[in-house]
Amino acid sequence: MNERLSQPSDEVVIARLAAGELSELGVLYVRHGSQVLRFLTHTTGDPSAAEDLCQDVFLAVPNAAKRYRELGKLRPWLLGIAARKAKSWKRRQWVRATLLDRFRFWAPLESECEPPHALPAQQSAIERAFVCLPQQFREVLLLQVAEGLTGLEIAAALGISPGAARVRLHRARQELRKLLGDAAFDVEAVA
């Protein structure tokens, strides 16, 4: 028998988890853990925090599984949980920074962010520009470009309307192009 066919589908695993079979959690972690970890690492910029948050995402799954409704793929749902965990982590970081008044906010703020051409040149321009994007723009780009989610799936994952997802994606690409300099993406150069 084909090995893939012998594996229970994501929906079956989620149903078992909702019924209290916690041993199924490892199956989901192996299937989707690395994508969730990649999303969190790029969103938070802190690999240690990303590892912790990734674990938190999967620890939240058994309770959330009872509320899961099949809307297509499972991964957008998991990435939606990850996005909320990352946001809440950012908020905690901010609270800590404000209270201690000595710590600076982890991620580069928009106003502080240097245009890529002012940075050392060893790094690829796209990488430097991506780090400078606001978190909500990084989120939608990661979900579509790296994870291959459609606009509807992104909207469902982030709890926003499809229209808002479209606008965010458009602005994110626009911002990225602005940071990179229009010349790098000149139509003539592409054609």
Binding site: L22, L25, G26, Y29, V30, G33, S34, Q35, R38, T41, H42, G45, D46, P47, S48, D52, Q55, L59, P62, R96, L99, L100, D101, R102, F103, R104, W106, P108, C113, E114, L119, P120, Q122, Q123, I126, E127, R128, F130, V131, L141, L142, Q144, V145, A146, T150, G151, L152, I154, P162, A165, R166, V167, H170, R173, L176, R177, F185, V187, V190, A191
Partner: protein
């Protein structure tokens, strides 16, 4: 709707198959839309290459432990619920007791007692009234408060009293004499253990002091915690106001909000950021005091701990996964003891040094976490070394306000071999910000 207007939906992959086909046909005819689509495609292509260049692996260990972690988490949630309910009931009971006590004090039947009290006040020095707020496993020299001035918490218990307007908490294995003298100028004598204080605001002349060994910690209205090991080491952490610490030789140092400082004969005082947990409430400071007595939270070179046989026993019981679990649960002191024992037995254990750095970072012990990362830089492999460089640089930059040291580490990170710098872009950005004139 014009087909041009559907380009946004097309790029966001919001269209069904038929609508996509219509837009794709339109792209062949409309040069403006085609150019916009090509630009977006090029941005996506470059971005995809960057985002997918690195493989992300999840730990097989975590995979196996996830079910247990869920069970632990649920148990903790239940325990937290019970604790909250008890705390609510305790607060309600206390409020009731206070109301009844106030009514009794105002009753005419108590007039004689009040007169006696007034007569005593004219002949004896006025001392603040002691009220027991919370007690768990403590031993009181005189259980009929007020009047119990000598307090002793022999085991893992704790004790919180209100002395006049001050609130004083005593942690595990602690002994103290409560305020004596005028309320405006009171002194707590700490024989050993931990005392956490929320001092009421005083006039410029008045003060509250904690005396421990030859040290005096003096404050004017603040919130702070003092730990004394009974022999040589003192830790002072402050969350509000400023305290002055006078050492046995008369030297003075100030500890400000968000800072903690350790003192000993060998170390005249090392400043570091106060653990953020301790910032918010005295309760949390007391919880920290409930950890088993050990030198770990503020000192603890491996050499010191190696001499304790129980620690190596702990280390042999705890593998990486168990230690990570302890860190996850916030049991930093236990995790740190086990890790110190491990690096004491195997000083080149890179995994242990990394976990030690992480444990201390999460416990808010910034300086010590940097020390652990620096050891890892000495003993680890190329990737581990670079990971430690980045973490240490972050802490030096953000928590310890040491830009020069952070710059050095970011530079070393960026100079490391390709493939060991997954956060190269962030490091570049941070370095450029730090070196900006």
């Amino acid at each position: 709707m014009k087909t041009c207007d559907q380009l946004g939906d097309y790029l966001a992959q919001l269209l069904d198959v038929n609508a996509r086909a219509v837009v794709e046909a339109h792209l062949q005819e409309c040069s403006a839309c085609r150019a916009a689509a090509q630009q977006a495609e090029k941005v996506d292509k470059s971005l995809r290459a960057f985002l997918l260049q690195r493989e992300f692996q999840v730990s097989p260990l975590t995979t196996r432990r996830l079910p247990d972690l869920v069970k632990t988490q649920r148990r903790e949630q239940r325990a937290r619920g019970v604790r909250t309910a008890f705390a609510g009931m305790a607060a309600a009971t206390l409020a009731l007791v206070l109301i009844v006590a106030r009514r009794n004090a105002e009753s005419p039947l108590r007039a004689n007692d009040a007169n006696v009290g007034a007569a005593n006040a004219s002949t004896a020095p006025q001392v603040p009234k002691i009220t027991l707020l919370f007690e768990e496993g403590a031993k009181l020299s005189d259980p009929t408060l007020p009047g119990a001035r000598h307090l002793d918490v022999p085991g893992d218990g704790r004790l919180v009293v209100r002395a006049g307007e001050d609130i004083i908490g005593l942690g595990a294995r602690s002994q103290a004499e409560l305020p004596e003298g005028q309320p405006q100028d009171s002194v707590i004598r700490l024989a050993s253990g931990v005392v956490a204080v929320q001092a009421a605001h005083r006039s410029a002349q008045g003060s509250l002091s904690v005396r421990a060994g030859g040290y005096t910690v003096r404050v004017v209205g603040t919130r702070f915690v003092v730990t004394w090991d009974g022999v040589s080491h003192l830790l002072v952490g402050v969350s509000e106001g400023v305290v002055r610490v006078v050492d046995p030789h008369g030297g003075e140092r100030s500890v400000r909000p968000g800072q903690q400082m350790t003192f000993s004969e060998q170390d005249p005082g090392t400043l570091e950021a106060l653990g953020s947990e301790a910032l918010h409430s005295m309760d949390q400071a007391l919880d920290a005091a409930r950890q088993p007595a050990s030198p770990a939270p503020f000192r603890g070179e491996p050499a010191v701990l190696r001499s304790q046989p129980s620690v190596s026993a702990i280390a042999s019981e705890l593998d990486d996964a168990s230690i990570k679990q302890l860190i996850l649960e916030g049991a930093y002191a236990r995790a740190e003891r086990a890790l110190l024992a491990r690096v004491g037995a195997a000083p080149r254990d890179a995994a242990a040094w990394w976990l030690l750095g992480e444990c201390r970072r999460k416990a808010g012990q910034s300086q010590q976490s940097v020390s652990a990362y620096r050891r890892l830089i000495e003993v680890g492999g190329p990737a581990e070394r670079n990971r430690a460089r980045y973490q240490a640089a972050l802490i030096l930059e953000e928590r310890l306000n040491s830009p020069a040291a952070a710059i050095e580490l970011y530079r070393a990170y960026l100079a490391a071999p390709a493939g060991t710098r997954p956060l190269e872009a962030s490091a570049q950005l941070r370095l450029s910000r730090l070196t900006r004139p």
